[in-house]
């Protein structure tokens, strides 16, 4: 490494990841909703392959997500993981948790400020006082819930039981329809849970947070401000960060790494002292590949909403940090081929410090769970990304061609994140990276995220962002 460079480091105080199990909301995912409308018989088929909460907890990739199993340990576990469940698995991990659908409904209700959520009163009262936190509940008997659904509200089921209704906020504005608002509120409550949890774990008072950046993917706004946003402020409010300002940073799947760079920059500039970077789950992506899973006789694996929260602060001696001066962005002039992306997002930041690709101990890339993507023909995304990096190392003469597999094995990992867009995109590895850095297993990691800007039909461009994490003091 170039010894003449004075590193710019920002402390990573902690991270928390959560998965909200939402089997009865899978039907409202974009793909299932469209396919079931066209082929109603798929509704029953989907329902028959939904997982229980205990099966979701014991699913090995989820245990990696919350930190109870390392990615390396996952690669040694027999597949299919959905059959080889982890015995004795718990819903709490060292840096994450899984919460059930009942919790999610309760949180949706508690966070609702616009009379969107109505719960069936017998079901709600059965849940007990623990579920009565937050705002006064809107309750109706079952026939009242059914009447709301008949008028267009989305039915909230718990298995076969109708337990609530989610209403639209406007009769004509498509941006305030029930399905859009359910997506948005689900993102808000799952992100707020991750934020509350990371702060509780660090014993940090929510009022100490200066700024919250949300990189959730939802478009919050009405018909005159579609995607106008600042979900961050709503999340900060929900998590009790009364002194925080906030704003959204969006760049498709690359959003979280951009948000980290922006948050770190606010700290480096002296504008803020503590910044939280958060994201809620993507309800639209639930069941995205459910047809492939059904065809293969698998459970519908895209049944969880992923969320995370990272707390950034001033760097501390002997603690993990991000190298703000390593941040790299994919420029407009750049190409979108895998090689071009790897050159810009891996070689460019490393070159600043005279580092080679082989000087990075671990790469965090798009860490989609291959058990979800391979059956649908989308391939093993992390493996593809790691092979590209290895091929680049061969081209540069840093390794021999016959060392590519070793490069992939030692510097990469198996994917374990649900296909939640922004969640799998490198940021999901940060929790394990912090542990590996603290334990001395690695001396650095390079996080690389890519974004698919072309999906919005405004440009053909791709996008990406990357940066190094390491221990402060190295």
């Amino acid at each position: 490494m170039n010894g003449s460079i004075r590193p710019t480091r920002i402390g990573i105080e902690g991270v928390f990841y959560s998965l909200a199990h939402a089997p009865d909301l899978v039907r409202f995912g974009s793909k299932p909703a469209r396919e079931i409308a066209a082929h109603p018989e798929l509704g029953a088929a989907l329902k028959s392959k939904l997982r229980s909460f205990s099966a979701a907890v014991a699913y090995a990739p989820h245990q990696v997500y919350i930190g109870n199993i390392t990615p390396k340990e996952l690669s040694g576990l027999p597949m299919p993981w959905y059959e080889k469940l982890i015995e004795g698995a718990t819903a709490q991990g060292p840096f994450g948790d899984l919460v059930d659908q009942e919790w999610l409904y309760s949180m949706l209700r508690a966070a609702d400020q616009f009379e969107l959520v109505t719960l069936e009163e017998a079901w709600f009262n059965d849940r007990g006082p623990a579920r009565r936190d937050g705002r006064k509940a809107r309750l109706q008997p079952l026939d009242g819930i059914q009447a709301l659904c008949d008028k267009g509200a989305l039915p909230l089921f718990s298995g076969a039981r109708l337990t609530g209704a989610f209403a639209a906020a406007h009769a004509e504005d498509a941006n305030l329809s029930a399905d859009v608002l359910l997506e948005n509120l689900a993102a808000k409550v799952t992100a707020a849970h991750a934020l509350r949890s990371v702060l509780a774990g660090l014993r940090t008072d929510p009022s100490d947070i200066d700024y919250v950046i949300s990189c959730s993917e939802e478009a919050v706004g009405d018909r005159y401000n579609r995607g106008g946003g600042n979900l961050a402020k709503a999340i900060a409010e929900e998590a009790g960060c009364e002194n925080a300002g906030g704003s959204d940073t969006k760049a498709f799947c690359a959003g979280p790494l951009y948000a980290m760079v922006h948050g770190a920059s606010l700290i480096q500039s002296g504008v803020c002292r503590k910044v939280a970077v958060v994201a809620g789950g993507s309800l639209a992506k639930l069941g995205m590949k459910f047809e492939s899973h059904l065809k293969n006789g698998m459970p519908v694996l895209e049944d969880v909403l992923g969320s995370f929260a990272v707390l950034l602060g001033p760097p501390k001696d002997g603690e993990p940090c991000m190298r703000l001066d390593s941040a790299a962005f994919h420029p407009v002039r750049a190409g979108a081929s895998p090689q071009a992306m790897a050159e810009l997002l891996a070689e460019t930041p490393l070159a600043r410090f005279d580092m080679k690709l082989t000087d990075v101990d671990r790469y965090g890339v798009e860490l989609h769970n291959p058990e979800i993507t391979v059956p649908s023909g989308s391939g093993d995304v992390p493996l593809t990304n790691y092979r590209t990096l290895a091929a680049l190392a061969v081209m540069r003469g840093q390794i021999q061609k016959n060392q590519m597999a070793d490069f992939v094995k030692s510097r990469g990992m198996v994917g374990y994140a649900p296909t939640q867009g922004h969640i799998p995109s490198a940021i999901v590895y940060l929790g394990h990276a912090l542990n590996a850095l603290r334990g001395g297993e690695i001396k650095n990691a390079l996080l690389i995220a890519k974004g698919s800007l072309f999906l919005g039909r405004m440009t053909q461009l791709s996008d990406g962002c990357s940066f190094l994490v390491e221990m402060n003091g190295n």
């Binding site: 498709f252 799947c253 979108a336 081929s337 895998p338 798009e366 989609h368 993507t373 649908s376 023909g377 989308s378 391939g379 995304v381 593809t384 990304n385 296909t419 867009g421 799998p424 890519k450 698919s452 072309f454 999906l455 053909q460 791709s462």
Partner: protein, 41 residues
């Protein structure tokens, strides 16, 4: 053999972009009637 054929080229974010596929196919004499890059995850 391929010259004059019409093709649709769908690229993938983590693989080969649609525009790259289209350029190769056009170079081989095919007519690309539609190309796009999608993200399947």
């Amino acid at each position: 053999m391929l010259s004059g054929k019409k093709v649709i080229a769908i690229g993938e974010r983590d693989g080969v972009p649609g525009a790259v596929i289209a350029e190769c196919l056009e170079g081989a004499g095919l007519e690309v009637v539609f190309q796009a890059t999608e993200c399947f995850v």
